[in-house]
Amino acid sequence: MLEVKGVSKTYGEYQAVQPLTFTLKQGEVLGLLGRNGAGKSTTIKMILGLIPHDEGEILWNGKPLNRKEVRFGYLPEERGLYDKTKVYDQLMYYGRLVRMKKREVKERIEYWLNRFEVLEYKHKLVTQLSKGNKQKIQLIATLLHDPDLIILDEPFSGLDPVNANLFSSVIEELIQQKKTLILSSHRMEQVETFCQHIIMLKKGEAMLQGELDQIKLSYGVQEVFVRATKEIGEWLQVRNYTFTQKEEGYHVAIQRDEEAVHLFNRLKEDGVMVREFIMKEPSLHDIFVERVK
C-alpha cells in the first residue's frame, strides 16, 4: 500500500506541489490529472525519490519508501532510452540493474517483445524505431522486472489507435494482476476506464480528489437529453430552459437531479410524447475542464 502524507515541494518562491495526501491500496489505480505544470511530474518524481520532498512522508506498506526495497516501474513522459544502443542490449541492461538473472531477463525480453509485436526490432538501434515502437520498448523496460508499483506518465502519447488499444489491454492485464498503478494522462477517456481514484492538480494544489464514482455522483446530473415525437424548442424556450438542439433531440441544462424529474413530469402533463429521456452524468473530461481551467 502506498501512503503519501502531506508531501510538498517548493522551488524558490514557486510552490510546485502543496501538501498532498492520498492512499493507494495494492491493486488500485490512481489517475493523476492536471494541465501542464500542475505538479504531476514533480509528485511522481517525489514518489520515485528522484527529487527530495520538503515536507511530509511517503510510506510503502507502512514503512518509509525505500528504492532498494520496492520495485518501481516508471515510464517517463519523454523517451528514456539510449538512441545508439540496440533494443536487446538496452533491455538487458535495465533488467540486470534490478539484479535479474541473465536468463530471466532474456526470457522476459522475448515475452514482452512478442506481446507488443516488435520481436523483429530486437537487434535494431533505438534510433531506427518509430515513435510508437520506441514507446513500446520503453513500456517493456518499465514492466520487464515485474514491478510492485507502476507509474505511467502519459503512456498513450504518440500512439496510433491500434497501439493505444494494445497498451490499454496490457494495462488491463496489470490491473487484473493486482498491480498498484499511478496513471498520469491528459486522455480522460483512458483514465476514466482504468482508474478508481483520481487527483486533479492545479498549480500544485489538489483541486479534486477521491473515488471517481463518488466524484461523479456528487456532481449529479447536469444535462438531460430529450427526444420527442414533435419539436419542443419553443416549449423549452417559453419555460426558460437553456438547451441546444442536436442529434435529433434536445440537450437541456439542469442544476439538480430533481429538475430532471420535474422537466419529465411537465412534458408529460403538456401531452408531449417523449421517445427518449436520458439523465446524463458529467464525464471526467467535463469535470476536468470545469475544475482546472
Partner: protein, 402 residues
C-alpha cells in the same frame, strides 16, 4: 559491486562498440605505423646537404680536403666553385643547393656571405671562421718570426669538454610523449564522461535508471568505464610501438615522429608503472570534475561553457609538464609538483628526470590523495544534486536558499 559492474561493463561495451572509438583507434595505429615507417626510411638514406663554397678571398687558403676530413659525407656534400655571388644566391633560392658561402676581399679585410633557406650551416660557418683566423694568426706570427706550429699548442689548451650528467634528449624523448598521451586521453575521455552524463539527463534515460540504481555507483562506474576505454586504446598504442620495434623501424632505439624523437629504449618497467599511476590518479581527479559538471547542465549544447574551467586546468597541467622537462629544478616546477591538478604531469616528469627527492614525492602523493578525497566528496554531491534537476543553476540556487 554487482550493480557497479553492470553499469561499468555496459558503458565500456557501449564506448568500445562505438564507431568513433574504433575509427580513432585505427587512425592512431595507422598514423603511428605510417609515420614510423617513413621516418625510418628517411633516416636510413638521408640526402646530404649540398653546400657550395666560392672563394675569391686574397690570401685565403681553403680546399675541399680540409672540409671532407672534418665533415661527415653523409651529412654534407661540400663542393668548391667559382660561381658568382648572385648565381649562388639564385641556386639556393631555387632549391638547387642547400647552402652557399661566398668568400671575398682579403684576409685583412674579409667578407663572407652565407646563403641558406631556413637553417644556417653553423658548423661550416664556424669551421671557415676558425680556419681563416688561424691563417691570419699564422701570417702574423710568421711576420714576427715566431714558429706558426706553436699556434696548434695554444689552440688545444683551452678546449672545454662537455659532459652531460642528465640526458636531456632522452628525458624529452621519453617524458614528452607520456605527458602528451595523458593530456590527449584526459581531454578526450573526460569530455566523453561529461557527454555521457548530460546525454542521459537530456534524453531522460536517467529518470528510468535512477529508480533502479544508485546515483553514486553510476557516477564512479562512468568514470572508470571511460578510464578503461582509454586504457584499451593506450594498450593498442603500446602494442603498435612494440610492433614497430620488432620490425626494426627504429633508429638507435629512438623513433622520429613529426620531427620529434621518441626514445623507445628508455621505456622500462619503472617508467611504465609511474606513468600508469599518474595516469590513473590524474584521470580520476579530472574525471570526477567532468562527471559532476556534466550533471550540472540539462542540454548537451550547454556543456562547453561549464567545462571551460576544467579544460584550462588540463591545459595548465600539460603546459607545466612541458615546462618541467625544460626546467625541472625551477621553483615553478617544484611548487606545481605539489598542486593536485598539476602534479600528475609535473611530478611524473620530475620523478622520471630524477630531480624529485623521495620526501618531495611522498609529500606530493599525500597532498594529492587528500585533495582527491575532498574532490570526491564535493563532486559526488554536485553530481547527485544535479543529475535529476533540470533548468538553470540559478533557479536551483534560489530554491536552495528558500
Amino acid at each position: 559491486m554487482g550493480e557497479f559492474f553492470t553499469i561499468y561493463s555496459f558503458h565500456v561495451k557501449e564506448t568500445v562498440k562505438k564507431k568513433g572509438f574504433l575509427y580513432s583507434t585505427l587512425i592512431l595505429v595507422a598514423f603511428l605505423l605510417i609515420a614510423s615507417y617513413f621516418s625510418y626510411q628517411s633516416s636510413k638514406n638521408p640526402d646530404p646537404d649540398k653546400i657550395l663554397i666560392s672563394s675569391h678571398m686574397t690570401g685565403a687558403n681553403l680546399d675541399k680536403k680540409q672540409f671532407t676530413s672534418v665533415f661527415d659525407k653523409d651529412e654534407y656534400d661540400i663542393q668548391f666553385t667559382n660561381k658568382s655571388d648572385k648565381a649562388l644566391e639564385k641556386e639556393v633560392k631555387e632549391k638547387d643547393i642547400d647552402g652557399a658561402f661566398v668568400l671575398s676581399g682579403s684576409l685583412e679585410k674579409p667578407s663572407i656571405q652565407h646563403y641558406y633557406r631556413y637553417q644556417p650551416s653553423q658548423d661550416i660557418s664556424l669551421f671557415i671562421e676558425k680556419s681563416l683566423e688561424n691563417q691570419v694568426i699564422g701570417t702574423t706570427l710568421t711576420k714576427a718570426n715566431v714558429n706558426p706550429t706553436l699556434l696548434q699548442d695554444t689552440d688545444s689548451m683551452f678546449q672545454v669538454k662537455n659532459k652531460e650528467i642528465g640526458n636531456s634528449d632522452n628525458d624529452y624523448g621519453l617524458i614528452y610523449p607520456l605527458i602528451f598521451l595523458m593530456y590527449v586521453f584526459v581531454m578526450g575521455f573526460g569530455q566523453s564522461i561529461a557527454m555521457s552524463v548530460v546525454s542521459e539527463k537530456s534524453t531522460k534515460v536517467i529518470e528510468m535508471l535512477l529508480p533502479r540504481m544508485s546515483a553514486i555507483r553510476s557516477f564512479y562506474a562512468k568514470i572508470f568505464s571511460a578510464f578503461t576505454s582509454g586504457l584499451i586504446q593506450l594498450c593498442v598504442i603500446g602494442l603498435t610501438f612494440f610492433f614497430i620495434k620488432q620490425v626494426g623501424w627504429v633508429d638507435d632505439g629512438s623513433m622520429s615522429m613529426l620531427g620529434f624523437s621518441i626514445q623507445l629504449d628508455s621505456f622500462n618497467l619503472t617508467t611504465i608503472l609511474w606513468f600508469v599511476y599518474f595516469f590513473l590518479t590524474g584521470f580520476t581527479l579530472f574525471g570526477l570534475l567532468y562527471a559532476s559538471l556534466g550533471a550540472k547542465v540539462s542540454r548537451v549544447e550547454d556543456l562547453g561553457t561549464v567545462l571551460t574551467p576544467v579544460v584550462f586546468l588540463v591545459m595548465g597541467a600539460f603546459g607545466l609538464g612541458i615546462f618541467t622537462i625544460v626546467s625541472p629544478e625551477s621553483i615553478v616546477s617544484e611548487i606545481a609538483g605539489y598542486i593536485p591538478f598539476f602534479s600528475p604531469t609535473v611530478m611524473m616528469a620530475r620523478i622520471l628526470m630524477g630531480v624529485a627527492s623521495p620526501g618531495a614525492v611522498t609529500l606530493s602523493i599525500v597532498i594529492f590523495f587528500i585533495a582527491l578525497v575532498g574532490m570526491t566528496f564535493l563532486c559526488q554531491r554536485w553530481y547527485v544534486r544535479g543529475i535529476s534537476h533540470y533548468g538553470s543553476g540559478k533557479k536551483r540556487k534560489k530554491a536552495k536558499q528558500k
